[in-house]
Amino acid sequence: MRYLARRAGQAAIVLLAAFTGAFLLLQALPGDALMIKYENPELGLSPQQIAEVRERFGVDTPLPVQYVHTLLGFAAGDFGYSLQTGTPVRQLLAEALPHTLALGGIALVAAVLLAAAIAFGSSLPRLRWLRDLLRSVPPLVVSIPTFWLGIMLVQVVSFQLGWVSVIAPGPVEGLILPVITLAVPLSAPLAQILVRSIDDVAAQPFVAVVRARGATPAWILGRNVAKNAILPTLTMAGLLLGDLIGGAVLTETVFGRPGIGRITEQAVGQQDIPVLLAVVVLAAASFVVVNLVVDLLYPVLDPRLAARAREGVPA
């Protein structure tokens, strides 16, 4: 329990640091969203009219005041308004998040399954002939750009073969191609890690002992090797969250899907600081949470770590 409390405290500090860093960096950018929106030059407003709008939005208040104001807002769950459109940021995130969670979550699961299929498939002795082929897949796939894969899938599977609709699809139909687009490049590094650790674990003395007692290779792989090889893969899956977020930006743009990635892409283009700040904090929060979950899963998978966690030793 103390372990959990300490980890939660660490998470809060990480979030505050992410907020502060993002706040300062975004403020340091040249220009601002109001300038982009009101001065450049679509509305043809006079300098005096622009000054009135700037005053109303309070952009020219001192930085420390803005910082405290924004931080207190965030703490209370109020992320302000998009400067570009005026939509409350909380509403933007609330509408986009379920779409991105569904896409990202399913893609991550699909990537792990795909990686496991490649790794275990290439480690089963009966399929030795497949081994080299399967093991050459990850290095090949890791070099496919997400963007290109998305466009190819849309053009071939949707537009030429007509198997799924991309424009106005059903909820499940709409996930098929984006999930593939996101999961395939993600599965490659996972498969590589998994293959490597299967080899490592298979070379351990205890495996030789189990084998000597008459276990079949498949039994060893499933019961002994897999359980031990999964730990580094889990860590990797946590770290891949960054790739997942980056991939979501591209995937959501290609497929015209609503989501956090689309919001981010639009906000970056317009330097919409309240939106970007909220996205950074949200991304940091999800990083913290996922890695916390991974850390908490460790003791479950490895009893030795559970003992240490009970004693309060860092895992």
Partner: protein
Amino acid sequence: MSATFPTRSAAATAAALALLALTACAPAASDPAASGSGEPVEGGTLVYLEHQAHTTLYPPSAGFYPNGGIVNNVFDRLVWQDPESLELKPWIATDWEVNADATEYTFDLRDDVTFSDGTPLDAEVVAKNFDLFGLGDPERGLTVSEAINNYERSEVVDADTVTFHFTAPSPGFLQATSTNNSGLLSAATLDFTLEQFAPGNSAEVIGSGPFTITDEEIGSAVTLTARDDYDWAPPDRDHQGRAHLDAVQIRVTPEDSVRVGALLSGQADYIRYVEAQDEAQVDAAGFAVYAPQTGGVNNHLSLRPGSEILSDIRVRQALIAGIDRQQVVDTIYTDRYPLATSILSSSAQGYVDTSDALAYDPERAETLLEEAGWVEGAHGIREKDGKQLTLVVNESAPQPRSFEALTLISQQLKTIGVDLQILKADAGSAAEAVRDVEQVQVYHSMVARADLDVIKSQFFSQNRNALLNLDYDDGTIADAQLEELLQAVASEADPAQRIAESQEAQRYLADQAYVVPLFEEPQVYGAAPRVHGVTFESVARPSFYEIWLAD
């Protein structure tokens, strides 16, 4: 949050199924012989793909084209501008009177028009609309309409008569009442703040148009549904009564190849922004390409005279003579992008041909630069007093293929010894740089509006100030004569005289070598063969009102 997701998607599925059912029923209910040609068919949902998401529904700020697909179909206006002849015809206003010096406008209104919330569209609400558009409300973040000058106040004469008063002549006002920026809003909507006009609240924004906004997914989709009781289209339009379509689904699809692919594979019916390089693919498939002109200030480069190098007219003239505009149009664009012959589009009111000042003549360009003291330097770039002839032009993200066009122009200018750098920056840096005459000496832009005022909108110091004639830092005006000419266009009450003023301003811009007009900018749309009745308002925003689907 996770609890609302299944509900939302269930509702979306139900809505999609309902729309599907409507689409499926529509052709069966009508005469099969009618489909394909001639008689419009009622019903069906049009799937329309936008390039970008809409940003606001507050009409004075809604000039951005992605807003136009919504605004032009949801809000009616007082006056209708015929997109062909540019004449102003009755719409919500049946008749109007303007006093001799254009400081008083009186409109007679129809008495049978209602907003989609059931409230009447009467003189009271029209007055309230223009009080907001003409004066703005900074407290609510709502700006004054660029199209309305010198607004003073409104006066409700009776239930269907309203008068507007101006502090000085405002000859552009009548046309302004026909534009998207003057879309009529219900009384309740007029109390909104900027935030309430934002995406996410769109279904609450009420107009009296042929469609109402019934559903929205922020940043990705907007559904428009036809009003059954709509019966106040402009009398001069071919179609009257309710829209043919039942609904329009506007879906944001940023990726160009996906938009075109969706159209050609039948997943979408109608798309905006077919890039020049994709036109051939759409043409070849037998689909329609529409390229209505935006008809205002052409796509052009402004040569800013306030900058050190360009303060010399000979250098500006040399740049114009050194740019092969025809090659730019032929190489980067298609024949749907006609070569510009003035700063104004040839379809704009008051247009005058100034091509004599725009001829491509690289030899003359070199002579002019020599005369101005710019001599051959290192790496083929001219120098004067140890300084290189280096200029910066902004990449204009909203213009089609801006970077490609500027790259070609930069290559052309290199042959006469001019180094043209292209500023490719994030929106913030670009917004700041274009306001500094020594950071961006050459400014790439255009503006669409079908009124003589458009030339003032682009170049006047208090409007877009494209030439940076007003220096924002020290408040000085570089060319006072230009200011006077532009002011005259916007304040002359006599229509014939206004045209003369516009022509003088065009001539002046050409003679002073202030602008390099490139091409007459169209908005390029693609549509499936089953889409009929495609029309546009005067600056190429789509109207869905007359569209019908043939299957």
